[in-house]
């Protein structure tokens, strides 16, 4: 690997390898696929939040002209789930439905409209059961959402303590105790979920799906359909956004596959926007109580949290969510003692799962506001209290996570400078304020979701006399640019231009296994795998070119399309490849990556253990209208330590997109349900994702700490930069108008209520009582 100061491609602003295809409309997404004789299918969904299915009658449905096949739960009863220890889902309900929208049956017809009409002719006899629509109901009720649960409606309970929290709190100069509530939110990618399946004459099944984890989908299809994995090919076409919402295997993928088997014809299912809101798997609602103690200097002594997590109807990633709600909080500040007690509950609502910043955005909100309260009690500047608690580099956190590079202090410096904090904090006109918050996030996880000793990612690289470099990558490009990362790395190492690299990706027949686009693992792990393959090929190119010029191997160097020797002679990259192919035979190399064993030596100690951690600081500037209760976020300054920006343009894009999404969660979005379990607004306008006019100015400030283990020093940038947006806005509102927003989203109604409470406290008690 070249040292960072000498790179030609890495660290420069570059186009993505596939953006012209996207700019011209040539990129093919799942719903753009149209195959000969293709059927269209639709899924019947439960109108009840909790009910037993007594019977299903398809006779009228099957009599409708154009209906080709129907599917019921009993045909695919095998339970599956993304986490091998909590497999509690079935492709279609077999005996019971657990939320409004739960999948009951499926119809394939000649066209989509007929399939839709056919759904209305399926007669389902339901026996309604008590619906548990909140954590409190789930806790109290005798009703079980999953009959087999060992502990009532508890999905997962984690209780971990490090150090003597009670003793530390009793000795603390300041103890802040505060409740926080995070209402759920959803991903809302602009592309709805879509899958197409086709069976060939040999019984081999191909499934194209808008999944961000083709490998786990591959495994789940094999399990549920009872087919060997080698008979199934999963292809991820271009993907129209995901953010975690396309991580689980979904009913549509099993249904198209089974219907293709039953009918021998290609089958497509495209979810409606409403179905996407019910398929969900988004951010969990969390009710959190934090106790944070500090000494007189503002140094944290203890952190204690108790968290109830509303998981919805199934487990999904919930086991990990429960751990992440505590395990990922132990940086960028030093915690001498820490305890968290998190319980995920089943409720009769759409299932929650991983959304950008999985499990850690909610507690980060609570903690960073609590830390601000500590600063307020001590009369400390909010940036200063964060500096005083900085955990440092090359340290082990209280829960046993090893932090290497850490640019958090420089993130604080960057937002302080850019926002004019020193000159402006506390000096803005009434109604305006600045607020700060920080965070830490993982760059991949140390363990795969199912235990195995194989690589977590791999690439194969082929190059030949044409001068074209082809990389076969298992990674899922969901817009973040993972198909471009190999082009940058290979161009840097092999001396070609990035444009000479073509990336074949996310096709289980053609590409090595990659575990998927989650946990901010892709750039880190894929980058290292590419480097390993590239360095093997680079040695061959260097040997061939050096022999050609009659100079030592170490003297030649490739750079952006040519190879040269110190005397000034040069040949093109293509000539260099020809020499290498003549000397070594057909050229190709593989590279892979697998993490070392990491994490604390206790049950759950590996969850949250990452080969590297990213760090972020935000400053928000807000203006609050006391008449209307409306908050205007004028600007968000986002400083993020990404280790090294392989392409600063893409890193900024991840930071801006993250900050936007955090802002959206703070002020707009709410995945809420009514008393019958119906989503309150399952459309993009009712749910209110921000438009150009709603979104504040976002300024990305890239901080590079050059991680000793990442590719060229890189760490993640896709999820970390979301976290501080929400607490920074809450903290800024405090400076602006003196109210503490502790419940999301920060709606005008909540602001007005708190303003009235503030005024009531300020005013002397009215006489006459």
């Amino acid at each position: 690997m070249r040292t960072p100061s000498r790179t030609r491609v890495i660290g420069t602003r570059r186009r993505k390898v596939d953006s012209v295809q996207k700019a011209t409309g040539q990129a093919i997404y799942a719903d753009d696929l149209q195959l000969p004789r293709m059927l269209h299918a639709k899924i019947l969904r439960s109108p009840h939040p909790h009910a037993r299915i007594r019977s299903i009658d398809f006779s009228e449905c099957l009599a409708l002209p154009g209906v080709v096949a129907v599917l019921r739960g009993e045909e695919m009863p095998v339970r599956y789930g993304i986490i091998p220890w909590t497999e509690d889902e079935q492709a279609l309900a077999v005996d019971k439905v657990r939320y409004v929208g739960d999948e009951v049956a499926c119809v394939a017809a000649l066209d989509e409209l007929t399939a839709q009409e056919a759904l209305e002719k399926i007669r389902v006899d339901y026996e309604p059961l008590p619906a548990l629509l909140s954590v409190d109901e789930a806790r109290r009720s005798e009703t079980r959402i999953h009959e087999g649960s060992k502990h009532g409606n508890v999905s997962k309970h984690v209780d971990l303590a490090f150090g003597d929290v009670d003793l530390e709190l009793s000795r603390s100069a300041v103890v802040v105790e505060e409740d926080f509530y995070y209402e759920g939110s959803t991903h809302a990618p602009i592309e709805p979920h879509c899958a197409v399946a086709q069976l060939d004459g040999d019984g081999n099944l191909t499934v194209w799906s808008s999944t961000q984890i083709p490998h786990y989908l591959h495994r789940a299809l094999a399990k549920v359909l009872g087919l060997p994995e080698r008979r199934i090919r999963v292809i991820q076409p271009f993907l129209g956004g995901a953010f975690g919402g396309k991580s689980d295997p979904f009913a549509l993928e099993f249904c198209v596959a089974k219907l293709a088997q039953k009918t021998g014809r290609p089958v497509k299912i495209l979810y409606t926007r409403e179905e996407v809101f019910y398929a969900h798997r988004g951010r969990h609602p969390m009710k959190m109580r934090f106790r944070v103690g500090t000494d007189r200097e503002g140094k944290i002594t203890a952190v204690d949290s108790k968290i109830d997590i509303d998981g919805g109807a199934y487990s999904s990633f919930g086991l990990v969510t429960a751990y992440y709600s505590g395990q990922l909080l132990t940086g960028p500040y030093r915690f001498p003692s820490y305890r968290f007690d998190s319980t995920r509950w089943f409720t009769n609502k759409p299932c929650c799962g991983p959304k950008r910043g999985h499990g850690s955005v909610q507690p980060r909100f609570g903690f960073e506001v609590a830390l601000d309260l500590c600063a307020e009690r001590l009369g400390l500047d909010p940036i200063e209290i964060r500096r005083r608690n900085f955990i440092g580099e090359d340290v082990v956190t209280v829960n046993g996570q090893r932090i290497g590079s850490n640019g958090f202090e420089r993130c604080l410096d960057a937002v302080e400078r850019a926002s004019g904090w020193k000159e402006r904090y506390g000096r803005l006109p009434p109604g305006r304020g600045l607020g700060v918050a920080g965070s830490m996030y993982i760059s991949g996880t140390a363990y795969p979701i199912y235990p195995n000793e194989m690589p977590q990612t791999g690439v194969q690289v082929k190059l030949d006399r044409s001068g074209r470099v082809t990389v076969f990558s298992g990674a899922s490009d969901i817009g973040q640019g993972s198909n471009s990362v190999p082009a940058y790395v290979l161009a840097e190492e092999l001396g070609c231009c990035p444009e000479d690299v073509v990336c074949v990706a996310a096709d289980t027949d053609l590409t090595p296994v990659d575990l998927g686009a989650y946990s901010s693992r892709v750039t880190y792990m894929l980058g290292l795998a590419c480097l390993e393959a590239a360095q093997r090929l680079r040695a061959q190119l260097a040997a061939a070119v050096a022999a050609h010029f009659g100079v030592p191997e170490g003297a030649v160097e490739g750079e952006l399309g040519s190879w040269r020797e110190p005397g000034g002679r040069a040949i093109s990259f293509q000539e260099a490849v020809k020499l290498a192919e003549a000397k070594f035979g057909t050229l190709g190399a593989t590279g892979s990556y697998r993490t070392q064993k990491l994490g604390g030596d206790y049950r759950g100690g590996t969850i949250g253990a990452s080969p590297a951690y990213s760090f972020t600081a935000h400053v928000a500037e807000v203006a609050v209208d006391e008449e209307t209760g409306r908050i205007a976020v004028e600007k968000l300054w986002v400083a993020h330590d990404c280790g090294r920006a392989l392409n600063p343009c893409l890193v900024e894009g991840q930071m801006e997109g993250s900050a936007y999404m955090g802002y959206a969660e703070a002020l707009f979005e709410e995945q809420g349900y009514d008393g019958r379990g119906l989503h309150r607004g399952p459309s993009l306008l009712d749910y209110r994702i921000p438009t150009t006019l709603d979104t504040p100015d976002l300024q990305a400030l890239v901080v590079e700490s050059i991680d000793p283990n990442g590719p060229y020093g890189a760490k993640e940038a896709g999820e970390g930069p979301l976290h501080p947006a929400i607490p920074a806005i809450s903290n800024a509102v405090w400076r602006a108008v003196g109210i503490r927003l502790t419940e999301l989203p920060f709606t005008p109604a909540k602001v007005l209520r708190l303003l009235r409470e503030r005024d009531a406290q300020r005013r002397p008690a009215a006489g006459g009582g």
Binding site: D18, A23, Q34, E191, C649, L693
Partner: protein
């Protein structure tokens, strides 16, 4: 339920004439995507919320998911496939590419059509005018920052990596 009979509609799309049999309820988006196989226009919501289906109809940006195919009879339709001039990208497409404005790309066909319509109407728009013109196109990836920059680059107001520049006028308070 008996289906209404299909009718033949003449569509002029990206300068080419097509005859297509469509149901009376068929949207322009469906006719483009599934009838003419011009899949660059995307369906994100099918109810006029997201703007991913935006095409130009006689020059004006419209939501093709809320426009019946029959309404487009005899009118000039331009889709993302017709934005480039021959092999050369439209300056809007080139700017979106160079500025990193395309993440997943799904919303961007509609976004670029709206941007082109704006620049044809207002060659040097203010930042507020750009925000206003793109406010019907939802993007979930970018936070809009690099999209605004790209439109300014296409308008010759700044270079890639420099924007967006301007006063931010037009921000709506929440």
């Amino acid at each position: 339920m008996s289906r209404p009979q299909k009718r033949v509609v003449r569509l002029r799309v990206n300068g080419e004439d097509h005859e297509l049999a469509v149901s009376p309820h068929e949207t322009l988006l469906e006719a483009l995507r599934y009838g003419l196989r011009l899949t660059g226009s995307k369906q994100g919501c099918d109810k006029g919320d997201c703007g991913a289906c935006t095409v130009r109809l006689d020059g004006a940006p419209v939501l093709s998911c809320l426009t019946l195919a029959l309404e487009a009879e005899g009118r000039e339709v331009v889709t993302i496939e017709g934005l480039a001039r021959g092999a050369a990208l439209d300056p809007v497409q080139a700017a979106f590419d160079e500025c990193g404005a395309l993440q997943c790309g799904f919303c961007q066909s509609g976004m670029m059509i709206s941007a082109r319509a704006l620049l044809d109407r207002t060659p040097s728009p203010t930042l507020g005018e750009i925000k206003e013109a793109l406010s019907g196109n939802l993007c979930r990836c970018t936070g809009y920052t690099k999209i605004l920059e790209a439109v300014q680059v296409a308008a010759g107001q700044c270079r890639p990596g420099e924007g967006p520049v301007g006063d931010g006028l037009g921000r709506r308070r929440t």
